[in-house]
C-alpha cells in the first residue's frame, strides 16, 4: 500500500512538474484570474468555485486530456532511484547495441558528407531563400540531382543488427529443445501469449461490433454502424481524450477520424502552434541541411511512386523538412533508447561547448521514413495541423520502430512476438519456411517497420492505425503480420524458395485487416 502511494505521489509530482511549464498552465491561470470577475465566485469558497467554473467551461476537460496525454506518453519511473538511462532503456546490453548502431549510422552519414564534400548544414544565400519560399507549395516539382545520395540505412540493414543481438547473461545451450526459438531474434524478451492477447484486445472479439467488419454492405447499419457513429459524435462533443481512445478501438468512422485522432493525440490548432510551424518553415528557408537531400531522395523513391500517395508529395516535403528542424522533438529522447547524434562546429571536435544535435531534431531519416507521413495526408490538409499530428504520432509510436529497446512496443519485441506467434500456432509453416531459407521475419520485417504503410490499402491502414491509437501499443502490427501469414499459409506451404515466398506475400493491397485479426485472435484453435 505504502509503495503504491509513493508511486502515485511520484507520478503526480512528475506530471505537475511537466504541466507547470506548459502553455495550458498559463492559460488556466489566466482563466482563473478572469473568473474572479464573475459573481458566482465567492471569496469564502474560492477554491471550490473556481474548480466548478473550470468544470463548466470545459477547462477541466482540457486539463484532464493533458494529464491523460502525459500518462500515456511518458513511462513512469520504475523506481525513484533509477537513473535516467533506465527510463530510456533498462537493459544494459540493449543500450550498448543501440549505441553502436548509432555510431555506425553517424559514420555512414559523415562519410557521405566528406565523399560528396557537402556540409552537414549551410546557410542559404538570399536568392535561394526567395526561390524556395516561392516554391514552398510545390517542392515536388524540383528535380535536384540526388543520384549521389544514398539513404543512410534501409530496414534490412537494421534487421541484421537485431538478428545479432545477444543477451550476455543468457545461455541457450547448443542442443535444440522444445523451448528453442527457431526464428531470427535470439533474445529472451517477455511477449504476450495468445491468451493474453485475447484479453488485451478484447474489443476486437467476435461478438463486439467493429468498423472494418460490421459496416460491410450486407450488414444493415442499424445493427452497429449508426449507433457507433452517434457515439463518436458524442465523444467529440465531450472532447474527452480518454473516451476517444477507448472509442477508436472499435474503429473510427471516416468522417470523424481526423477529429478523433487529434483529440486522442491532444493536438489542437492554436495560434501558437501555427506560429511555431511558421517558425520552423523559416528555419528551413534559411538553412539547408544535408538531411534535406536525404528526405528528398526518400520521398522521390517511396511516396512519389506509390499509386495513391503520389498526390501528396508536396505536403510530405513541407512536413518532413520542418520536422528535422524541430528541437521540441528532442524531448522524446528521454524515453527513447536512442540518443540524438551530436555534431561539432568545424574545428572544435570533442568540445562539448561547440556541440549541436544534428539534425536539430535528432532523428536521421532512413529509407521509407516518409511513409509514416503519407497516410496522414488523407486526413489532414492544413500543413500545420498535419505536422503536429505527425510529430505526435512519431514521438508516441513511430520512434519505437527503429530503435533497439526492450519495450513491449519496440521493434525487437514486435519481431519476437511475431515469430513466437507463428512458431506456436503455425509450426508446420514456420518450419517449412525456415527449411527453404525463407525465415518469415525477413519478409514481415519491412511491414512492421513501416507500420504497414504503403502495403495495405489506405482505408485498411487507417483502420489499423485506429487500433494502434486505441490500444496505445504497436503489438497489433505483429499480430497482423502473423495473421497475414496464417491467411496465405496454404500457398506458402507450396513454395520452395525465399523469392517465391516473397512473391506470395508481395501484394497485401486486397487484404481486409479486421477480419484477419479477428480470425487469428479469436477464431483459431489454439
Amino acid at each position: 500500500m505504502l509503495q503504491e502511494e509513493e508511486d502515485l505521489s511520484l507520478t503526480i509530482a512528475h506530471i505537475v512538474q511537466k504541466l507547470k511549464g506548459s502553455r495550458l498552465y498559463s492559460q488556466l491561470e489566466r482563466q482563473a484570474w478572469v473568473s474572479l470577475q464573475k459573481p458566482e465566485i465567492k471569496l469564502e469558497s474560492l477554491k471550490e468555485d473556481i474548480k466548478e467554473f473550470f468544470r463548466i467551461t470545459g477547462w477541466e476537460k482540457k486539463l484532464q486530456n493533458a494529464v491523460y496525454s502525459e500518462l500515456t506518453v511518458f513511462p513512469l519511473p520504475r523506481h525513484p532511484a533509477a537513473p535516467p538511462e533506465h527510463l530510456k532503456e533498462p537493459l544494459v546490453y540493449m543500450r550498448k547495441a543501440q549505441g553502436s548502431w548509432e555510431k555506425r549510422i553517424l559514420k555512414s552519414l559523415n562519410s557521405m558528407c566528406t565523399e560528396l564534400s557537402i556540409p552537414l548544414a549551410r546557410k542559404r544565400p538570399v536568392v535561394e531563400q526567395k526561390e524556395l519560399l516561392n516554391k514552398w507549395n510545390e517542392m515536388g516539382t524540383d528535380e535536384p540531382d540526388l543520384s549521389l545520395f544514398r539513404p543512410v540505412y534501409a530496414p534490412k540493414d537494421f534487421l541484421e543488427v537485431l538478428i545479432n543481438l545477444r543477451n550476455p547473461n543468457y545461455e541457450n545451450g547448443d542442443h535444440l529443445n522444445l523451448r528453442t526459438h527457431l526464428g531470427l531474434i535470439q533474445v529472451p524478451l517477455k511477449v504476450k501469449y495468445i491468451s493474453e492477447l485475447k484479453d488485451y484486445f478484447i474489443e476486437l472479439s467476435l461478438n463486439t461490433g467493429q468498423l472494418g467488419i460490421d459496416d460491410a454492405t450486407q450488414v444493415p447499419p442499424e445493427l452497429f454502424e449508426n449507433e457507433h457513429v452517434r457515439l463518436g459524435q458524442k465523444v467529440l462533443a465531450e472532447q474527452d481524450s480518454a473516451a476517444a481512445q477507448q472509442y477508436v478501438r472499435q474503429g473510427s468512422p471516416t468522417a470523424l477520424r481526423a477529429e478523433l485522432w487529434a483529440l486522442i493525440l491532444n493536438v489542437s490548432n492554436q495560434p501558437e502552434d501555427l506560429l511555431y510551424y511558421e517558425q520552423l518553415k523559416s528555419n528551413v528557408i534559411q538553412h539547408d541541411l544535408l538531411v534535406d537531400s536525404l528526405i528528398y531522395k526518400d520521398v522521390k523513391l517511396t511516396a512519389s511512386n506509390d499509386d495513391y500517395y503520389f498526390v501528396f508529395e508536396d505536403y510530405l516535403y513541407q512536413v518532413l523538412l520542418c520536422f528535422s528542424r524541430d528541437t521540441s522533438v528532442l524531448g522524446h529522447f528521454a524515453y527513447n533508447s536512442a540518443s540524438p547524434p551530436k555534431s561539432y562546429i568545424r574545428g572544435k571536435l570533442g568540445m562539448e561547448d561547440y556541440a549541436v544535435f544534428y539534425p536539430p531534431n535528432g532523428v536521421i531519416p532512413f529509407h521509407g521514413f516518409s511513409m509514416y507521413v503519407a497516410p496522414l495526408c488523407f486526413l489532414y490538409h492544413e500543413p500545420s495541423k498535419l505536422y503536429q499530428i505527425f510529430r505526435e504520432m512519431y514521438v508516441r509510436f513511430f520512434f519505437r520502430l527503429h530503435s533497439i529497446s526492450s519495450h513491449h512496443s519496440g521493434i525487437v519485441s514486435l519481431c519476437f512476438l511475431f515469430e513466437t506467434l507463428l512458431q506456436t500456432h503455425l509450426p508446420q509453416l514456420f518450419y517449412h519456411l525456415r527449411e527453404i531459407g525463407a525465415q518469415p521475419l525477413r519478409i514481415s520485417f519491412k511491414w512492421m517497420v513501416r507500420a504497414f504503410s504503403g502495403y495495405l490499402a489506405t482505408d485498411q491502414l487507417l483502420l489499423l492505425w485506429d487500433r494502434i491509437l486505441g490500444y496505445n501499443s504497436l503489438e497489433i502490427l505483429a499480430v497482423l503480420a502473423a495473421a497475414v501469414f496464417a491467411f496465405r499459409a496454404v500457398n506458402l506451404m507450396e513454395v520452395t524458395s525465399l523469392a517465391a515466398a516473397e512473391a506470395v506475400l508481395a501484394d497485401l493491397s486486397t487484404l481486409k485487416v479486421m477480419p484477419l485479426l479477428q480470425i487469428f485472435l479469436f477464431a483459431t484453435v489454439t
Binding site: N137, A216, T217, T254, A255, A258, V311, D314, F378, D459
Partner: protein
C-alpha cells in the same frame, strides 16, 4: 453484314441457322419494348434459346475460345455460338475472346455482335441489314451527345423546354455545363458574353478531336482574333481545308484540388435504349490527375490544365510507372473524411442528375435502334464548392489499360457490359443490378428500395452506387445461379 443465310459447306450453319419462318413461328407473343416498367431486355432469339437448352446438358467450361477452327465448332455443335467482330485491339478483345461461346470472325464474315468504331458506323450502318438479335456498340447519331457543339445545342433546347414545362427550378438543374458558344457560328454572341465578364479565362476546344488535341486557353480576345482571321481567309479559297468547328467554353477557374493538383472524373454510363430511356451506371471509375500543380498564372502550360491521360503522357514530368489515376472509391473516401458523408452524398446525387439530364436532352433526337447500345465515358470536373460540371461525353472511351489496376477495371466493365447486352439470353429483364452496373434510369427513376415507386415522396434514394463497394463477382454468381435454377425448373 450479318444476314442469316444458310451457307453450304460450313459445319456451323447446320446448327447455327434456322430458316426465318420457323424461327418466327416458334416465338411466343412479344413483350413490346416500349412498355414502361416491363423487362428492359429484348427476348432471346429462338435459335439461341435452343442452344441454351442443349447447353444445359453439358458442362460449360470457362476457357478462352481462341481457336475458331471448324473442328472445334464441330465438337461443340450443340453449344452456344455468338460470332463477334471487334474494331479495337486491346482489353476488349481479351474479354471477348475469353467469353464462353463467343467466336471471333474476321474480315467479311457474318457477325452477331460488332464493337465497331465510329468511322465504320458512319459509312456502313445505313446499308447494313441486321437481324433482330444482332447488336452493335453505337447509336447511329451518337454525336448528338458526344460532339461538343451538338451537345450544347441539345442541352440548351432541353433546358428551355424544362423551363416552359416545369419552371425555373427544374431548368436550373441543367446548369452543369459551363457557358459554351459554338464558333465560328456564334461568334458575336460569344463576344458579347466575353465583354460582359472581362478577365476570366476561356478554353477553346475543337469539336471533333479527342485526347486533348488542339485545346488552348485564352483571356484576351486578341488571342483568338488571329485564329479567326485564319478561318476567314480559308473561307475565300476554293479548295479550302474544311473549317474546323470549335467551342469556346468558360474555363472553371476554381477546380477542386487534391495535393495542389487538378483532376477530373471518368465515369461509365451504359445506355441500352433511348426510347424508352434505359441507362446503367458503373460503380467503378477513376480520377485522372494533372501531373503538375494548378495555377492560373500559366495558362500556356497544357499539362497543368488538361487532365487527359493522353496529354499527360507527353508531359516532361510524366512517369508511366507513377500512374496518375485514383480509383473513384478512394476519392469518395478522401472526400468523406474531409467533408462528411452528407456533402459527398449530395455531390454524387448531383452527378446522377448530370447523367440523366444529359441523356434526356438527346432522347428525342437520337435514333433509338433496338440493335444499338452504347457505353459512354463521362468526364466530370468538380469545383471547390463541390459542384460537378460536365466537360464532355465520349462515345468511344479509351479501353486501353495504363496499369494493372486499370486493366482490371476495364475488363470487369466490359464483361458486365456484355452481360447486360445479354446475347446469351440469361437475364429476365427485371434486374436492377448486373455485376458492377446499377440500373439508373428505366423510363423513370429507379429506386434502391424494392417494390413501391417512391419517386414522388421525399424518401426516394436512387439506385446508383458510384464509388461504392463493387462486389460484382458475388452478385454475378447469385444472378446466374438463379438463371440456372430457373432453367432447371422450366426445363
Amino acid at each position: 453484314m450479318s444476314k442469316s443465310k444458310v451457307r453450304k459447306g460450313q459445319a456451323r450453319s447446320s446448327v447455327a441457322v434456322l430458316p426465318k419462318e420457323e424461327g418466327e413461328a416458334a416465338e411466343g407473343p412479344r413483350t413490346p419494348a416500349s412498355a414502361p416498367g416491363r423487362g428492359w431486355r429484348r427476348r432471346a432469339p429462338p435459335r439461341l434459346r435452343m442452344f441454351l437448352n442443349a447447353q444445359r446438358e453439358e458442362k460449360q467450361k470457362n476457357h478462352c475460345s481462341k481457336g475458331h477452327g471448324v473442328s472445334k465448332v464441330k465438337e461443340r455443335d450443340q453449344k452456344l455460338c455468338i460470332r463477334f467482330k471487334c474494331a479495337v485491339m486491346n482489353t476488349l478483345l481479351d474479354v471477348l475472346r475469353c467469353r464462353p461461346g463467343w467466336v471471333e470472325v474476321k474480315d467479311e464474315g457474318e457477325w452477331d455482335f460488332y464493337w465497331c468504331d465510329v468511322s465504320w458506323l458512319r459509312e456502313n450502318f445505313d446499308h447494313t441489314y441486321m437481324d433482330e438479335h444482332v447488336r452493335i456498340s453505337h447509336f447511329r447519331n451518337h454525336y448528338e451527345l458526344t460532339r461538343k457543339n451538338y451537345m450544347v445545342k441539345n442541352l440548351k433546347r432541353f433546358r428551355k423546354q424544362l423551363e416552359r414545362e416545369m419552371g425555373k427550378l427544374e431548368a436550373a438543374k441543367c446548369d452543369f455545363f459551363p457557358k459554351t458558344f459554338e464558333l465560328p457560328s456564334d461568334y458575336h454572341l460569344f463576344v458579347e458574353e466575353f465583354r460582359k465578364t472581362p478577365g476570366i479565362t476561356w478554353i477553346m476546344k475543337p469539336v471533333a478531336r479527342s485526347q486533348g488535341k488542339g485545346i488552348f486557353l485564352f483571356r484576351k480576345l486578341k488571342d483568338i482574333m488571329d485564329w479567326r482571321k485564319d478561318v476567314g481567309r480559308s473561307d475565300d479559297q476554293k479548295d479550302d481545308i474544311p473549317v474546323e468547328n470549335y467551342v469556346a467554353q468558360r474555363y472553371i477557374e476554381n477546380p477542386y484540388l487534391i495535393g495542389g493538383r487538378k483532376f477530373d472524373l471518368r465515369v461509365y454510363v451504359l445506355v441500352m435504349s433511348y426510347l424508352p430511356l434505359r441507362a446503367w451506371l458503373y460503380r467503378d471509375g477513376f480520377v485522372r490527375f494533372s501531373n503538375t500543380r494548378f495555377t492560373l498564372s500559366s495558362i500556356d502550360d497544357h499539362y497543368v490544365h488538361l487532365t487527359n491521360v493522353a496529354v499527360q503522357k507527353t508531359s516532361p514530368d510524366y512517369d508511366p510507372e507513377k500512374g496518375c489515376k485514383w480509383m473513384i472509391q478512394r476519392f469518395r473516401q478522401y472526400l468523406t473524411s474531409k467533408h462528411g458523408p452528407e456533402a459527398v452524398e449530395t455531390l454524387f446525387q448531383d452527378m446522377d442528375n448530370i447523367f440523366i439530364k444529359s441523356l434526356q436532352s438527346v432522347q428525342k433526337v437520337i435514333i433509338s435502334d433496338k440493335h444499338c447500345f452504347e457505353l459512354y465515358g463521362y468526364d466530370i470536373l468538380i469545383d471547390q464548392n463541390l459542384k460537378p460540371w460536365l466537360l464532355e461525353v465520349n462515345a468511344s472511351p479509351s479501353l486501353a489499360a495504363s496499369s494493372q489496376e486499370d486493366y482490371q477495371l476495364k475488363t470487369c466493365l466490359l464483361e458486365d457490359t456484355l452481360h447486360i447486352v445479354d446475347m446469351e439470353g440469361r437475364l429476365t429483364g427485371k434486374e436492377k443490378r448486373v455485376g458492377g452496373f446499377d440500373l439508373m434510369w428505366n423510363d423513370g427513376p429507379v429506386s434502391r428500395e424494392e417494390g413501391i415507386d417512391l419517386s414522388g415522396t421525399g424518401n426516394f434514394v436512387a439506385n446508383t452506387h458510384l464509388g461504392c463497394n463493387n462486389d460484382r463477382k458475388k452478385q454475378l454468381r447469385q444472378l446466374f445461379h438463379s438463371f440456372h435454377n430457373r432453367k432447371k425448373v422450366t426445363g
